[in-house]
């Protein structure tokens, strides 16, 4: 018998101006598992993430983290509990040096508590983190202003921000979008390391199904805010509704 799921979402709903952005979505996830959330554009994937991480308050439904009700929690509280997320539209602190971007999360109560009040030089930790997500070692890039970074690097910075919080659940909102094939390829081992070695639970919202399916073991499919399928990647792609929802809109659906 396994313990409580690390994350359990029950009948979550949110309406925006008469439209159901998310309607009656439920799922659960055990510690160390990986989950992919897929669906056509506007199917409520990002809203679902926002509801879980507290950026949007749900109209009804519950979210449990390790059995504890965290519905309608504020985003910073969610982080303090160990749920970190990245954003689809990355917006770093443009005017700061890249490594200074990571000083902000390193200053958060969560990191300070985990380090037991003793945290060496935040700048050094930040640069180390940047190397981990694929910034070249000993390059000048971390010292440049974040606004000058190419898009792919901004995405990595966003990932580094999540990881700097030492989260238990990492939620990545379209990490791969705007990345080149080779960039994505270089991310895959890192994601595997986050999940397998460090034991962090991973949730990924993605359009790039082929790459996503190499990382996640379980998938839920949303359409018009509703969950239309759940299962392993192979299972969900067999579902008629999923095929219909993706028909024509996603070339990669046949993966």
């Amino acid at each position: 018998m396994r313990t409580d799921p690390i994350l359990r979402v029950c009948n979550l709903s949110k309406r925006f101006g008469g439209v159901n952005a998310v309607y009656d979505v439920s799922f659960y996830l055990y510690e160390g598992e990986t989950l992919g959330i897929i669906g056509p554009n506007g199917s409520g994937k990002s809203t679902l993430i926002n509801l879980i991480t507290g950026f949007v308050k749900p109209d009804s439904g519950k979210v449990y983290f390790r059995g504890r009700d965290i519905t309608g929690i504020t985003p910073d509280k969610a982080v303090s509990l160990g749920i970190a997320r990245s954003f689809q539209l990355v917006r770093p602190f443009y005017n700061m040096a890249v490594y200074k971007n990571l000083v902000i999360p390193l200053y958060s109560p969560r990191v300070r508590k985990l380090k037991g009040g003793k945290y060496g030089d935040r700048d050094e930790v930040a640069i180390h983190l940047l190397e981990e997500v694929g910034f070249e070692r000993d390059s000048q890039v971390p010292f440049k202003t974040a606004g000058t970074l190419p898009h792919g690097y901004m995405k990595r910075l966003e990932l580094a921000r999540c990881l700097s919080l030492q989260p238990e659940v990492v939620i990545l909102d379209e990490l791969f979008s705007g990345m080149s094939m080779s960039e994505i390829a270089s991310m895959l081992p890192l994601l595997e390391k986050i999940n397998r070695e460090e034991g962090r639970t991973l949730i990924m919202v993605e359009h790039r199904l082929r790459e996503l399916f190499r990382v996640v073991g379980k998938v839920i499919v949303l359409n018009f805010g509703m969950k239309i399928a759940e299962g392993t990647p192979a299972e969900v792609m067999e579902v008629e509704e999923v095929r219909k929802a993706y028909l024509g809109s996603e070339v990669e659906a046949g993966a």
Partner: protein, 343 residues
């Protein structure tokens, strides 16, 4: 057609003093280059009160007002660096001023007790007042700070508390003008350099990050509301101090403490001097206040004049005078002929 053209070239001086935190101080000359401007300002400010026989009572009073406005401008600048734009610095000023008057009248405390007490208590009170609206941004926060001091004024008028329209007069004074000057000058210097230092720490970095992009700060697990409240408290300190100080200087506090002047003058100072540098806020006050004293003969026309400043600087030199001077100090400028410009 070939036209000869010229362009201006800007070059950094050969010292790496301007990069973020790397100081390459190799010689006495370079150390001086860095320290001299700061030292000159500090020394001349501290020497000012000693010159009372030369300058006379009038200019000492001007200095006093200048420093009070500089304190309010510093307070504005710190708030703005968290993204809270205040159109009502008079709130801080008035709260400090009335608290000092109230404490002094009710408990008969000496100014040396009421000033620190009302500085801290006033800042706490202001933070409590502004706490519910800290989530507002941009113009909405501006609107509320614009309305608050005026509301305070009307409330005092309507309820007749704290002396109503008459105000509280006959309050105990501070020892003497030299003491007052040293007190207010020191306060301004401590705030200017202290705030600058504060914004360079990791804590200050978090504050600046909130201004730039609050969403990512939230996602970094930091409670924005709480940090904004701290910033308001810190920013309110110089404001409430200025109020409490002037109350004892004039031995009077009344409704003008919440007047628009104490909102417009600091704001104009920052706009003239340049926001985000703290030194700019002080510089602005040191230009604006003495100037408006010189122009006192023109009556309310001087308000028109500093409104014109406000417009000209907002449009023409948004970086403010301080950054302009700083740039000139750190860079060579020379005119170089262009090779050939085809027109």
């Amino acid at each position: 057609m070939v036209k000869r053209g010229y362009r201006k070239e800007r070059l950094d001086r050969g010292i790496k003093a301007r990069s973020d935190d790397i100081f390459a101080i190799a010689s006495w000359r370079e150390t001086l280059y860095l320290i001299l401007p700061r030292a000159a300002v500090i020394v001349s400010l501290l020497a000012f009160p000693l010159l009372k026989d030369v300058l006379g009572h009038y200019w000492q009073n001007v200095m006093l007002i200048t420093c009070t406005i500089a304190l309010l401008a510093l307070s504005w600048d710190l708030l703005a660096s968290v993204g809270l734009v205040s159109l009502g610095q008079a709130l801080f000023f008035g709260v400090g001023a009335y608290l000092a008057g109230f404490l002094s009248r009710t408990f008969g405390w000496t100014p040396l007790l009421t000033i620190p007490a009302s500085t801290v208590a006033g800042a706490l009170l202001c933070t409590a007042i502004l706490f519910p609206v800290l989530r507002l941004r941009g113009i909405y926060f501006g609107l509320i700070t614009f309305a608050l001091p005026l509301l305070m004024m009307r409330m005092i008028e309507a309820t007749k508390i704290l002396g109503g329209t008459e105000g509280l007069s006959g309050l105990p004074p501070l020892p003497d003008i030299t003491f007052e000057l040293y007190l207010v000058i020191t306060a301004a210097l401590v705030c200017a350099f202290g705030f600058k230092r504060l914004m360079d720490t990791d804590y200050g970095l978090v504050l600046r990050a909130i201004r730039d992009n609050d969403r990512s700060v939230l996602a970094s697990g930091i409670n924005i509301q709480w940090y904004k409240a701290q910033a308001v408290f810190i920013a309110a300190l110089p404001g409430t101090f200025a109020g409490a100080f002037l109350t004892h200087h004039y031995q009077f506090v009344g409704m003008p403490a919440f007047a628009l002047d104490f909102s417009i003058l600091p704001l104009t100072s920052v706009v003239i001097g340049g926001a985000g540098t703290f030194a700019g806020a002080v510089l602005g006050a040191f230009i604006l206040v003495p100037l408006s004293e010189v122009l006192r003969a023109f009556g309310t026309l001087r308000v028109v004049i500093y409104c014109s400043f406000l417009i000209i600087f907002t449009i023409g030199l948004p970086e403010g005078i301080f950054r302009f001077i700083e740039r000139k100090y750190h860079q060579f400028e020379r005119v170089v002929p262009l090779e050939e410009v085809r027109a």
